[in-house]
Amino acid sequence: MLSVERVCVRRGNSATLQDVSLSLAPGRTLAVVGESGAGKSTLIGAVLGLVPCTSGAVSWNGAPVRHCRPALVMQEPRSAFNPALSLHCSVMEPLTATGTRADPDRLAALCQGLEITPDLLARRPGQVSVGQAQRVGILRALIAAPPLVLFDEPLSALDAVTQKHTARLIAALQREAGFAALIVTHDLGYAAAFADDIAVLRAGRIEELTPARAFVEAPQTDYGRRLRDAAFALGALERVA
């Protein structure tokens, strides 16, 4: 169980996160939506311990989050891989770091689920498409079976067709593995379709935290309503309904 309690992050004189509280149970998906600059990436950093919290606490089952070895899927899939190493090397990193050996069956099952062929893993990041790289990024995130996986705009670098496909793959894998997923995105359509709950982040504060279906039907705040209506106008929400 991930719990974020009254977390504040300050950089210089400006607060990038203020009084943020969340909780996330295993098997559940929480989507944090908001416009750019709202503090979404800082939230990910704070949860992973990459950004120090000025006050407040982040924990997983009462222990520091780092102890559960959380995984992160990044926005720019290709820069998430060392260009000098083969994808296989990078994928195995979470295992080699702890000295565990890869279970070939599990690797094969994950690869099949993510539609990754073995020869794809032998290539370097520069030799694959962005969509392929993102699927390998998800493979790396899941290889060590982490209880918590964070997704930082996992779809925004992909084209529309690949986006839909990748989103479905993530959801399917989550149903199987049962990890808790924290998805940060500006795509309300994606959040509404795949998340259990939606948190609206605005200028470092959580404006509202509602179940996804309830949010689509009736946002509780003006800002949430504006976000939803904008998504409707763009046609992003229609595919849910």
């Binding site: 070895r69 820069s79 998430a80 891989f81 000098a84 090397c89 990193e93 790396r140």
Partner: protein, 264 residues
Amino acid sequence: MRSVGCLALILMALALLGPVLAPHDPTQINIPQRLSPPGPDWWLGTDAMGRDILSRLLHGARWSLGLAFLISVAGLLIGTLAGLVAALGGKLADWVVMRTTDTFLAFPELVAAVVIAGLLGAGTGSLIFALTVTGWMRYARVARAIGLSLGTRGYVVQGRLAGLSPLAIARWHYLPSLMPSLAVVWTGMFARAILGISALGFLGFGVQPPLPEWGTMLLDARIHMRSTPLQMIWPGLAVVVCVLAINLAGDALRDALGGEDVHR
């Protein structure tokens, strides 16, 4: 670019094969033949003790180029290590390493090397020490600067999340990205080491006679400048050709890698 590479290769081959190619014993004293002009027996003439200058030059390549290689590689290892510690070791480590680097840079490198080698006493050991101690700072600065810029790269963050040790991160994620720039710095430092070795030899603080080192040879030749000026030309020319070839190779390497001008 190719011709530069060939020239550098030829020089390396000369340094390795010098002793095999040399027609005479470089330390064989032959007083009756002293200061002879170039001729069929002595292609470049003989020095004040009748030793064959060509043979001394060829043997000397091993000292000048070999020691310069050793010194520049030692500097590379020390400097890279220092730079990585500064980039990965947190704020305090960074401050300590960078102020140490500044301290070593608070003095022209060659002058510092002269002071160190001179005070430690003439000899090859103190020469190596002096030039290594004064020759690691550029590597450290470059390694740190690139290292700091790598700290926020996606794959470095992933490595940290995966729980890799700082050592493993340095080895797998930092070194490959550092290599090209460090290689360019290395060519510059290799050339500087050649100049430094011969300068210290010329001042009498470096490799000691009768070992044939180019700077020491120049020091010997200087006394006989009036009678046999040619004797003075050869060792200097050897230094110039080597330094030029290595610098040009470094320029070519830098252009090939598309990096910035980091040396000099």
